[in-house]
């Protein structure tokens, strides 16, 4: 579904991702693990088009989208939940969703569907997103991403920095999404256990390179931990 091949990314003169290949199969879940600073987020930003790789290509469902801007990729079925529970802080929760639902025929239905996934959001719709807790904002962010009817969902550390009670909710929501089918997921995660539970493929990144990769599932835990030197 999504394929990054030979991607090199630089900030100014400093290259931080040195030729990375990552593939997310259709209906599959790939997870990228690695320490902070290994280049995971940078890689995801290139995948959605917020950064332009210096070399390499980004293919979405076989189509080369390297030159497309982020919103064009979104319209082709790519959705992105960035790191850090991002929302439009001055917009209400409901505006945050409506913004994406605008102009979609199925907007209302999808909003309902997304809210079913996170029922905790319903009573908070009138509140400004900036006033929500981190966990609520993250749920909002995922809901917002789902409104675009994605075939490919990219999640950057969706449970990072969120109170433990909500973490479970979010993890379960993600798992339910991956099981539903019709959706491929690329996940960056530090919680190895959860990551491997969800993933069909894993990649470990270190210093801008993929240092290990393989099939997902709890069985690969040992190999991953070794690769990550935990």
């Amino acid at each position: 579904m999504l394929e990054l091949s030979g991607v090199r990314i630089a900030y100014g003169r400093t290259e931080v991702v040195h030729g990375v290949d990552v593939r997310v199969p259709a209906d599959g879940v790939a997870v990228v693990l690695g320490h902070n600073g290994a280049g995971k987020t940078t890689l995801l930003r290139a995948a959605v088009g917020l950064l332009r790789p210096r070399f390499g290509r980004v293919l979405l469902d076989g189509e080369d989208v390297t030159a497309l801007r982020p919103y064009e990729r979104v319209r082709r079925g790519l959705a992105y939940v960035p790191q850090g529970q991002q929302a439009f802080p001055q917009l209400t929760a409901s505006e945050n969703l409506q913004l994406v639902a605008d102009g979609r025929k199925d907007g209302e239905a999808r909003t309902d569907e997304a809210l079913d996934l996170f029922p905790a959001l319903r009573p908070l719709l009138g509140r400004r997103a900036g006033l929500l807790s981190g966990g609520q904002r993250q749920q909002l962010a995922i809901a917002r991403a789902l409104l675009t009817a994605p075939r490919m969902l990219i999640l950057d550390e969706p449970t990072e920095g969120i109170q433990p009670s909500v973490v479970t909710e979010i993890q379960e929501a993600i798992l339910s999404l991956t099981r539903r089918g019709g959706l491929s997921v690329l996940l960056v995660e530090q919680h190895v256990g959860f990551a491997l539970t969800a993933a069909s493929t894993y990649y470990v990144m270190e210093s801008g390179r993929v240092s290990a990769s393989g099939d997902g599932g709890p069985a690969s835990s040992g190999a991953v931990r070794a690769a990550m030197a935990i």
Binding site: G12, Q85, E160, H191, V192, I230
Partner: protein
């Protein structure tokens, strides 16, 4: 030799109702290479920001008996507290030498500033040696590799005469070799500095930390040696993730 220490009591930072740091106590002694860890959003960087005057905070942060909170950034810096940033922030349009020379000069007399540099100050020379940048002294900082920039930043702290060094993810994005060199560098400087390192890299942490403070959701949840912290079930749960607990223990 007198021991300097950084003493933080009840430090609290709130933005628009959101509490980023929630009553943290921490004491760091000279010679103790302290690592500060915690998941993203735990308030590590905010803590550093508060100590260095970038973010208003309540509570207390004293160094050498001097209350740092409420002072302006440059006054805090002059009180001997220096920091680096997550993304190396060196002056890209200036050379390595110029970067270090500026860092060394905050206490220079005003009129002295109007003269060009005649000779390289010994402290700068030393810092270039310590950080291994002597060869690159006339290179523009913007042209340095990522790791070199980080070292340059640490070098700037050294010549700045800071006794407290607050380093925000100094080894992020570095290669294994570079990490090792950085670790050695930190070991060298901890003897006469109070060093606090915000870091995620567990391997690096294990290799070089004398002590570790763990933050989560703005609160301190554990403190001690690496082994002590690693064994703490709350740390395992919050930092390393639920799936991790069983296997480690």
């Amino acid at each position: 030799m007198r021991q300097d220490y950084l003493e933080i009591r009840g430090l609290r930072v709130a933005f628009d109702g959101f509490v980023a740091v929630d009553g943290v106590d921490m004491t760091v002694l000279q010679g103790d290479l302290r690592f500060l860890i915690g998941p993203n959003g735990a308030g590590k960087t905010t803590l550093v920001d508060a100590i260095t005057g970038l973010t208003p905070a309540t509570g207390s942060a004293k160094f050498d008996g001097v209350q740092l909170l409420g002072k302006k950034e440059h006054q805090i810096a002059r009180a001997g507290v220096g920091r680096t940033f997550q993304t190396a922030s060196v002056f890209e349009q200036l050379t390595v030498l110029q970067n270090l020379d500026i860092a060394a000069g905050a206490t220079r007399r005003r009129l002295g500033l109007l003269r060009a540099r005649r000779a390289v100050p010994p402290s700068v020379e030393l810092a270039m040696e310590t950080t291994g940048l002597t060869r690159l002294r006339d290179r523009l900082a913007g042209e340095l590799a990522h790791g070199q920039k980080q070292w340059l930043e640490i070098g700037m702290l050294l010549v700045q005469n800071a006794t407290v060094l607050l380093l925000d993810e100094p080894v992020a994005g570095m290669s294994a070799d570079e990490r090792e060199q950085t670790g050695e560098l930190l070991r060298r400087v901890r003897r006469d500095h109070v060093v606090v390192v915000v870091e995620h890299d567990m391997e690096f942490l294990r290799a070089y930390a004398d002590s570790v403070t763990v933050l989560a959701a703005g609160k301190k949840i554990a403190e001690g040696t690496y082994a002590q912290v690693q064994a703490d079930p709350r740390v395992q749960e919050i930092y390393l993730g639920p799936g991790h607990t069983a296997e480690v223990s």
